[in-house]
């Protein structure tokens, strides 16, 4: 996670998955969430995703648009419809289900 944080593009090509991670300062939880997200994307969406990190401490006005309450919040803006996942993304399966990458029934673990 870089400082400045407005946009961290991991894939510049037309992303099939456009993801925004909202954080508030570089808290351990935010860093953890970002690490988790990056890992999951690399594993499942390699080359097909883009992650934007928004630090609300710097751009508080952006919280309104995506109705952000909880930190961290991951918003999948593309594909539509928008999905929201809150928390530090430590449960990979739930993240995959939440992002609609894997159908809810086909969890590995549970």
């Amino acid at each position: 996670m870089k400082n400045g944080t407005v946009k961290v593009k991991i894939s510049k090509k037309e992303a099939a998955y456009d993801l925004r991670l909202y954080v508030a300062g570089q808290t351990p939880r935010s860093l953890h969430a970002f690490a988790n997200l990056k890992r999951i994307c690399e594993e499942h969406l390699a080359g097909r995703y883009r992650i934007e990190i928004i630090d609300l401490l710097e751009n508080p006005q952006l919280a309104k648009g995506d109705q952000i309450l909880a930190i961290p919040t991951l918003v999948r803006t593309i594909p539509k419809p928008a999905r929201k996942i809150i928390g530090d993304l430590s449960n990979t399966d739930r993240v995959l289900v939440g992002l609609d990458i894997r159908p809810a029934g086909s969890w590995d673990g549970q």
Partner: protein, 586 residues
């Protein structure tokens, strides 16, 4: 009301809690200044009791009247909906937003769109609120209602700790917050917000009593401050919320020496010739159709004629009907109404709760500042309500009107004539009590008026007859005589009878006078005749005396003549005398 607060302040060495005036009519009075400044206040109540409105009015009044910008964080309604809801109250939220005096942020929580994985906090909410506060330098904030978060987020533990943190954070930011909460089972709020907000808790309540809804407000808790502890009725109307701090009125009103006419000359006369005291309260009780409204209307007309604004609350007739009926006794209320001196307010007693009536009356009284107020009749407000309520209400009304210096006239219907108690035992509350009675005799009903009491004046103890005519109200003394108390045509008959008797007596007197005069005249004539006779006899008596003298003289003379003639004759004298006496002697 403020005096005790001031003295208390002097006694205490600590500075009194800083207050933030809400601007909500009446609330600041019962909260002795407002909600605690820089602290959160919980406003809770059941659905539809006015929590959101309370909060919005707090913001709008702050922004408009106190120069304190506000933030509205709504968890339930989008901003435009909120704005539309309060537009009817004259609150233009959009304008305030444009002027940067208000920020409305709608926080939407849709559980089905949110998946939770792992740990999180509500820093996003803090950021949003913080941003909103900073953007207008807000001093006030409304959170309506953060309990909605419980529906959107599943981790209750996190939520609770975050809410606690939120309220502390708001306190540290120094904004005065109002947090609403919906009432839950046996708890003030569904999710126990009261555990976190303990500085000030306001409970709004909406009660249905005999199918009539009354809203009430109560300050449950106010840490570090005195506050009115009662339940206060409140009203939501075109001007927002009005709380009525009615139970806090005291007995400190001024007493006027001035007397004002009752509008009925006869009644003024009964009230030691001058009428009511200004600022007093008058109760007119009576049975159905005894003329209570007419007495009230006369009073209003007299007030209007003096150029004083008057207010008429009627609970039985529509204004038009009332004016028409009053016109029939020659009182033109319409004229004063058109001139704007008289305001007639008609409302069915059952239209809303007793407290609501009171609140509305208070508002009108505040607006119009009338000098004469009539409530006609208070007994119909009784309805199903407990009598105590009406009495309390009238007491409050009496107190309030006395404070404003208005003269108040209440009418009340009594079921049983002659009973000197009213249904609701108002007599101790009023200064002047006029009782109207209907008595039925000889197949007709007649009205009587009587003053049962009138504090501070030498009022008449007499019963008068009360006549409604085309020219208003006339009071006549009743017949009090050997035949008892008579009224109406019985009185008129009795009076006619008396007039006849009087006439007959007069005639008899005249007859006797003329008889005597005749007798006197006869006697006079007789006296004349007798006197004449007496004179005649007197004259005769005198004549007799003269005759005798003459006779004696003649006799003497004759004797002398004779004796002379025996010696020497004296011819001439002798003959004359002899002739005279000679003719008389025959």
């Amino acid at each position: 009301m403020t005096t005790p607060a001031r003295t208390r302040k002097k006694e205490s060495s600590q500075p009194e809690l800083a207050k933030c005036a809400t601007g909500i009519a009446g609330f600041d009075e019962i909260a002795f200044g407002g909600v605690p400044r820089g602290r959160p206040t919980l406003v809770c109540g059941s659905a539809g009791c006015g929590k959101t409105l309370f909060g919005l009015e707090f913001l709008v009044r702050g922004a408009r009247d106190y120069g304190e910008p506000g933030v509205c964080i709504s968890f339930e309604e989008p901003g435009p909906d909120l704005a539309a809801n309060v537009r009817s109250l004259g609150f233009d939220l959009a304008m305030l937003e444009k002027d940067r005096k208000l920020v409305i942020d709608y926080i939407q929580i849709e559980k089905d769109q949110i998946a939770e994985t792992g740990e999180y906090d509500l820093e996003g909410l803090f950021v949003r609120i913080g941003h909103a506060i900073d953007s207008v330098k807000a001093k006030r904030i409304l959170l309506d209602t953060p309990e909605a978060l419980f529906a959107g987020l599943s981790d209750q533990g996190v939520l609770r700790s975050e809410l606690r943190r939120l309220f502390i954070w708001l306190k540290n930011k120094g904004v005065t917050a109002i947090i609403t909460g919906e009432q839950g089972d046996g708890k003030l709020t569904r999710h126990g917000l009261e555990e976190y907000i303990s500085d000030c808790v306001v409970l709004l309540d909406q009660r249905v009593d005999h199918s009539v809804v009354t809203r009430r407000l109560r300050i449950m808790k106010y840490r570090g401050s005195r506050h009115g502890t009662n339940e206060y009725p409140f009203l939501i109307d075109e001007q927002g919320i009005s709380v009525l701090p009615v139970t806090s009125v005291g007995l400190a009103h001024a007493a006027f020496e001035e007397r004002i006419s009752s509008g009925i000359p006869g009644l003024d006369e009964m009230l030691s010739g001058k009428g009511y005291f200004r600022g007093s309260s008058i109760l007119v009780s009576g049975t159905a159709g005894s003329g209570k409204t007419s007495v009230a209307a006369s009073f209003l007309v007299s007030a209007c004629e003096r150029g004083e604004p008057a207010l008429y609350f009627t609970f039985e007739e529509s204004p038009e009907q009332l004016l028409r009926n009053i016109r029939s006794i020659g009182l033109n209320l319409d004229r004063w109404r058109k001139q704007g001196l008289l305001f007639v307010r008609a409302a069915r007693p059952s239209a809303f709760g007793l407290e609501m009536h009171l609140v509305q009356m208070h508002q009108l009284i505040r607006e119009l500042n009338p000098r004469a107020v009539v409530l006609d009749p208070i007994s119909s407000l009784l309805g199903d309500a407990a009598q105590h309520d009406v009495k309390t209400m009238v007491l409050r009304m009496v107190d309030h009107l006395k404070h404003t210096g208005a003269t108040a006239l209440f009418t009340t219907l009594m079921d049983s004539p002659g009973l000197e108690t009213t249904d609701i035992n108002l007599s101790s509350l009023v200064d002047t009590w006029i009782q109207l009675k209907n008595i039925e005799t000889d197949g007709e009903r007649n009205r009587l008026v009587q003053i049962l009491k009138s504090r501070g004046m030498a009022h008449s103890n007499q019963v008068r007859e009360f006549n409604l005519s085309d020219n208003g109200i006339e009071l006549n003394p009743v017949y009090l005589g050997s035949a008892g108390v008579l009224t109406g045509s019985a009185r008129i008959q009795q009076e006619a009878r008396e007039r006849q008797q009087e006439a007959a007596r007069k005639q008899e007197l005249q007859r006797r006078q003329s008889v005597l005069q005749r007798a006197l005249r006869t006697l006079d004539t007789q006296i004349h005749a007798l006197r004449a006779e007496r004179e005649a006899q007197e004259r005769e008596l005198a004549a007799i005396g003269t005759e005798e003298t003459t006779y004696r003289a003649a006799l003497n003379e004759e004797r002398q003549t004779l004796s002379v003639s025996r010696h020497r004759p004296t011819e001439t004298k002798q003959n004359g005398t002899a002739n005279k006496s000679g003719s008389k002697r025959i």
